[in-house]
Amino acid sequence: MNGETILPYLIIVPLFGAFSMPIVSLAGRKAREAWAVIISGITLIVGSAVFYTVYENGPILYTLGAKSPFGKADFPIRIVWEVDLLSALMVLMVTLVAFLAVVYSLGYMKHDTGLDKYYTLILILELGMLGIAITGDLFNFYVFLEIMSIASYALVAFRNDTWEGIEAGIKYMFVGSIASSFVLLGIALLYGQYGTLTMGYLAVKLSQNPTVVAKVALAFFIAGLLFKSGASPVHMWLADAHPAAPSSISAMLSGLVIKIGGVYALTRILFSIYGASISMKTVGWVIIIFACLTLIIGNAMAVIQTDMKRLLAYSSVGQIGYILLGIGIGLAAYGSRTGEIALAGAVYHTFNHALMKALLFLIAGVVIHELGTRNLNELSGLAKTMPKTTFAFLIGAAAIIGMPPLNGFASKWLIYESSAIFNPVVGAIAIIGTAFCTAAYVRVLYTFFGKPSGKAMNARDPEATMLWPMIILVLAIIVMGLFPWQISDRVMIPAAKALENQLGYVATIMGVG
């Protein structure tokens, strides 16, 4: 299978689906829902194929408009897409969770109006995230970042007859636009200084001539992208946006958007563009400080919440802290075994957390759908009336805490181990974060196992379209948990190596390697 022929369909298929949605929805509700499922299903197939090809044959370079990124010049002039193993992993993660969220929406969004816009937006959101994952051009990255962000602003405020939807949407949009403009400002500075926007070639130019402008641009990138990932001083939008959005969207926001638009973009810029021209140790420590703050604040705030989705949102902030910690140690201990393990742990945890947090938000959606409330104090004893949902929640909560037979264990272990070797204080902070996280999830378990309350007596397990995505995620979590070290050695460590290997990234585009 040739990776170059299949890669553009990753963009074409969701774009085609989104553009044709207004026409297809003229044929009625069933056609629109079937269309959304078909399009996101095909995208999943294409995404898996891309992942498989990259895994087998190494990175793909795709040039838009011609066969080669070079015209008559000796530097890249066209937009390129560059997919290494890390990008391919992100593509697989996005297409999988987005497909499950679309299937889940069939049952979950049944009572809402304006669903033609909803399915268009959800496909655009997926498109933006795929674009960020595959692009190798800095301005192209910004465009896809904005596609993703604007689609998520609209989806957060989708239920515009509720006050919290509008409030969260406005808050998210105002601060999100400022964060995006930071990124744009950084790109403008870099372009003014170096005259190129191709990531690989920019890395060459940067290492030849590191300037103050490049450092200022890096500060803007870190500030903007830490916002997008929900790191601690700027995590406040996340705690409002996740509860207010429909649960299928919360699953995508928490599982995908904060990782692709934040963490993935940050690693790509730090390692692939700035790798050779900055002091890795300094930047690494900056990230570690934010990571430690995020870990403690996110998980500690999760413990005191009474709203189920808000609790999950703060838990997402906490888990982003682990991922950032892995990246920070990967930078600060660059080139050593510790740094590589930490980075592999961060990549692994990104993937795992996407699965488990998507599952937990889908479950929260089911609970809200059945009982009409998400206040933990009003809920208890769902285990009797909703056994399948309860089982799924048990798996998801155990996985996110990091219980050994499930997938969260291996990824968190890699991060604990490397942080303890790197610096015992940082390791201790990571453990404290997990203690808070456990406390938070044990509280939610009381919702499910307890004396049945009046509301819980009338609850039922959800219908098939809502149940199956949950079952698939539970199966994925269990199966990934059975082979943790095989997955780590075969996929996650090579992905981390691909990320660390800046020369390889540059060589792929410049045609040397």
Binding site: F16, S20, P22
Partner: protein, 144 residues
């Protein structure tokens, strides 16, 4: 609006529309293009809405038509981008070997798929902006 405004609007709306169409169709030759031209034509639509009022607008505006046209604009853009998919996405095959639109540079029928893309973007921008403005104008009243 008053009589003078309506009469002026009746004469200027076609002029604005024609000028916008000119900008769209000459996007590859003169400054402007799909977005600028589309926004200009949408300006004519907004002038119609303001001069003749919401009642008249409701008679001439159909949500499903505009929404479908916007989709068609996007699909046309994607379609011409895929014409050269054998070489690469966005490969300008109409310019390199296509049957039409590969005339002498500087003439109207040159520049490969660019004029088609300008038309598609113009259509999308026009329908999108008019739909957005119509939706805002049709929004619930100030108090409930």
């Amino acid at each position: 609006m008053g009589l003078i405004v309506r009469t002026i609007a009746r004469t200027t709306i076609p002029l604005i529309g024609i000028f916008g169409a000119y900008i769209v169709s000459h996007g590859h030759l003169t400054p402007g293009g799909g977005f600028q031209g589309g926004a200009t034509i949408a300006g004519a639509g907004i002038l119609f809405l303001i001069a003749f009022g919401l009642g008249e607008m409701k008679k001439h505006y159909s949500k499903s038509l505009y929404s479908a046209l916007e989709g068609i604009g996007g699909l046309a853009f994607l379609g011409v981008a895929m014409l050269g998919i054998g070489t690469a996405f966005f490969y300008n095959t109409l310019w390199h070997s296509g049957p039409v639109l590969n005339g002498k540079p500087g003439t109207l029928l040159s520049a490969g798929f660019l004029p088609i893309m300008n038309l598609a973007v113009g259509l999308k921008v026009f329908t999108g902006l008019v739909s957005a403005l119509a939706a805002i104008a049709l929004w619930r009243r100030w108090k409930e």
